[in-house]
Every structure is written in structure tokens, then in C-alpha cells.
Amino acid sequence: MITPKYVREIPQRYRLEAAKCKNCSYISFPPRLVCPKCKSRSFDTIRLSDEGKILTFTIIRVSSDIFSHQTPYGVAVIETSEGAKLMAMIADTKIEDIAIGKKVKLIFRKIRDEGVSGIHCYGYKAVVI
């Protein structure tokens, strides 16, 4: 059962809420208590845009059980246009079209189900544009 953790992470998973340091403007995603750059503890809550590019990626061909009928699929480190970095599954893209530097859009998708009777878990994925 992952429900409590899932609910805590909704602002980040559903709408890409990040913390922007009030002192040095560094963007933490997910938000942190202390700025890793300047050690400040005051942040503004911002929403990341849905635009970014692939910094690096891998193709998953042998996955954990819950993703086994989605293989092969890409997982990439994305840099958003604000400079925040996040990891996301790649959706709706042929694996040969995944490459470093490619522009992506972050979209809202179902990530996994908690078994056949548990909740549906949603979040962001990236699609190559």
C-alpha cells in the first residue's frame, strides 16, 4: 500500500510544484527544506512549465513486474525550461526517436495501478516532440 506517500506527492506528481530559493533562485524539484546551493530555508512555490529536453536516457527492456507489458520504454532525465531536473518515463514515442537533446513535453498520465483492486496512481511522463 503506497497511498499515504502517493497523496503527499500529489503537488509534484500532478502539477510539477517546485521550490524556488528566495535568496539565489535555485529551483528544487521536489522541494527541499534547505537550498542545496546557498543553504537558505525560504522558498517560493512555483509550477514548472511542461517544456524540457532530454539530458540523458536509458531504454528499459526488462522491467519490474508492474511495467512488464509496457517494455521496451524509455526513462530519461529531463531538464525543464526553468533548469529543474527530473526523471520521467517516456510516453507515446518510438524508442528510436529518443535521443539526448530532444525536446519533450511533460504530460499527465497514469503511472501504475496498485494491483487489480487498488488505486490508480497518476503523474508526469515526457513525450518527445
Binding site: 500529489i10 503537488p11 500532478y14 502539477r15 509550477r47 507489458h69 509496457q70 510516453a91 507515446d92 518510438k94 504530460i107 499527465f108 498520465r109 497514469k110 503511472i111 494491483g115 487489480v116 490508480h120 497518476y122 511522463k125
Partner: protein, 348 residues
């Protein structure tokens, strides 16, 4: 003035052609293409459902409306494929859009007309000054049983409409509804696929309700078919809306723009709403739009819209329906389709 201030639609990228389905069941694709006027349909990705489709369509609607989502006071999603039997789809959507918690949310159900039902209620809440903006969505990822005629048409997609009073792009002039107890299509609790009454779905169900709602709407508005620039009808297949249009006195030209079903399939609660969004994508100020939905069970909702000067400011702010329909397609064969639609039983 009350009406649509922003709209958006979304279709999955995946498609399957009529030929790929017909081959599997030993049917003749040419007779389906000719008889039902269906060529291909959208298929949702494994990570797509009514909620994700509703979220994407609504994001586009918010973009077009140019409003702060926190000002939306009501969210209604109409669908016959809500991901949960018990838990409203809109609860996920309000978090994804950042609408906040000060909002009325409900799931609507009425087979294929749940979307227009949501639109009617959203419009009425704004009209009654209960909320500043109300968001109504029709979206579905519908299933037909393997080998059933519905398999050629049941597809995925949706459209979202934000109702408000300022910066209206399409004013709602008249609405009506025509409903009766007609068991033409149903799905019992715990059943995976719906059932339908074959030929009974035509004359006593679809045509009776669409034509009667249409006639009453023409009477109520004191308008004639030739007063309209566009007409949109529920599209269970390509042929039915053409026949309904003819029965009501509309021409092929009037329904052409919203007649997206041959390449999209029947998006159920999203059917006439996506047709309407295809019309709004190209409509000009002053255009009048006639729309009648249909939901099995059965009933039809009618709307008369008048497009305003503001339409040209919003059309290019989000993707257009025809562009999504014609571009970026990924075709599936029947095996991939069966996997995508979880028609095959896998080990846990």
C-alpha cells in the same frame, strides 16, 4: 452573455484501422467502411484513461480561456468509462489543474451524452450566478467486446468547455433535452463489456431521441436548419449523424466540419463535444451552431450556440482537433491493440 469562454480537446495518438479488426474476425472491411462510414479509430495508450484525457483537454480549455484555474467553481466529468466505479474522476483533475479545493465536483453518467449533461449543468450554474466559471468535460476510453460491431467504433478522446460570462467565445442561446426509458444499450454492474440491442439501437433509440430533441430545439429557438452554419450530432458511426441531419433538414455541408467519426471512431461522451470543438476551431464570428447529443438509455441534449468576435483570439492558443486527428498517428495491429485495451489476460 453566458456561454463557452474556453474549450479544448484531446485524442490519443494511437490508431487502429477497420481492416486490422475485420481481418481478425473474418469480416469484410469494405462493407463496414461503406455501411458504417468508419475507417479507423483512436486507441488510448496503456497509460491513458478518462481522467488523463479529461486533464489534457481541460488544460487546453484553460489556456484558451486565459483564466486562473482557481476561479473554477464546478467541475463535472461525463463518461461511461470512469476509471473508478466508486471515486469521482474530477478529484484527480482538480489537483492536476491546480483548481484548489473550493470547487463542486461530480462524475456524470448517461452513456454517450454524459458530456453534454455536464455542459448543461455547468452552463446553468454560471447562469444562476452560483459560480464564476464551471468546467464541463465529456471523455471516454470505451470498449467494445472482441468481435462485436462496437469494436469498430468504440474509441478514446474528449473535450472540455469552460462556461462563464466574460469573454464568451460561443454564447449558448438555447438548450433542451428529450429523454425516455429505452433499453438500447447497457452494462450491468461488474460486467466488463456493454451489451446492445442490435438493430433496436437505430430507429427507436438514436433517431427517435436525436430527431425529437432536434425538432423541439428548432421550435424553441424559432430557427430553421438553414439559419445555422454548422450542425453537430452524436456520432456512433459515420452514417447515423448523416441520416439524422437529413431527417431534420440539415445538409451534408453543415455537418461536414464536426463529422470526425470516420477517422476518430465514437468517443462516446466525447463524441458530439469533440465534434463541437472541431467546429469552434474554424468558426467565424456570428456563426450559429446546432448540436444534439445522444446517450443510450436513452436521451438527447440540444444546444444552440452563437460564435462571438472573441473566437479568433483563442483558436490558435491550443492544439486543434483536426490537427490531432490527422497528424502524429501511431498505427497498431490487432495484437498490440488487444494488449493496449487489456483484452488479453495476463498473469498478475
Amino acid at each position: 452573455m453566458i456561454g463557452i469562454i474556453g474549450y479544448g480537446s484531446y485524442l490519443p495518438r494511437y490508431r487502429i484501422k477497420v481492416e486490422s479488426i475485420a481481418k481478425e474476425w473474418g469480416s469484410d472491411p469494405e462493407s463496414i467502411k461503406r455501411g458504417l462510414k468508419l475507417f479507423e479509430k483512436t486507441v488510448p495508450g496503456l497509460d491513458e484513461d478518462t481522467i488523463t484525457i479529461a486533464v489534457q483537454a481541460s488544460k487546453y480549455a484553460v489556456k484558451r480561456a486565459g483564466i486562473n484555474p482557481e476561479e473554477i467553481g464546478a467541475v463535472y466529468i461525463g463518461s461511461e468509462s470512469h476509471p473508478y466505479a466508486v471515486k469521482p474522476s474530477g478529484t484527480v483533475l482538480i489537483e492536476a489543474l491546480g483548481i484548489g479545493n473550493d470547487v463542486h465536483v461530480a462524475s456524470y453518467e448517461f452513456a454517450c451524452k454524459a458530456g453534454t449533461e455536464a455542459m448543461f449543468v455547468a452552463y446553468c450554474l454560471v447562469k444562476a450566478n452560483e459560480v464564476k466559471y464551471a468546467l464541463a468535460i465529456g471523455a471516454d476510453t470505451s470498449q467494445g467486446a472482441p468481435g462485436d460491431a462496437l469494436e469498430y467504433s468504440a474509441s478514446a478522446g474528449g473535450a472540455a468547455f469552460i462556461m462563464g460570462k466574460e469573454n464568451v467565445v460561443a454564447e449558448i442561446l438555447f438548450t433542451n433535452s428529450f429523454t425516455s426509458d429505452t433499453p438500447d444499450f447497457w452494462r450491468r454492474e461488474h460486467e466488463f463489456y456493454p451489451r446492445h440491442a442490435g438493430r433496436f439501437t437505430g430507429e427507436p433509440a438514436y433517431f427517435k431521441h436525436v430527431v425529437n430533441a432536434g425538432k423541439l430545439l428548432l421550435e424553441k429557438s424559432a430557427m430553421k436548419p438553414e439559419d445555422f452554419d454548422y450542425a453537430v450530432f452524436h456520432m456512433p458511426n459515420g452514417k447515423f449523424p448523416q441520416m439524422a441531419a437529413k431527417k431534420l433538414g440539415f445538409t451534408k455541408e453543415q455537418i461536414e466540419t464536426g463529422w470526425i467519426v470516420p477517422w476518430m471512431g465514437n468517443t462516446y461522451s466525447g463524441s458530439s463535444p469533440t465534434g463541437l470543438s472541431a467546429v469552434l476551431d474554424v468558426a467565424k464570428p456570428g456563426d450559429k451552431i446546432f448540436m444534439v447529443s445522444f446517450g443510450s438509455g436513452a436521451g438527447s441534449d440540444g444546444f444552440v450556440f452563437k460564435v462571438t468576435d472573441k473566437i479568433v483570439d483563442v483558436q490558435d492558443k491550443a492544439p486543434k482537433l483536426r490537427d490531432m486527428l490527422d497528424n502524429n498517428k501511431i498505427y497498431l495491429d490487432y495484437g498490440e491493440y488487444a494488449k493496449f485495451r487489456e483484452k488479453i489476460i495476463l498473469n498478475e
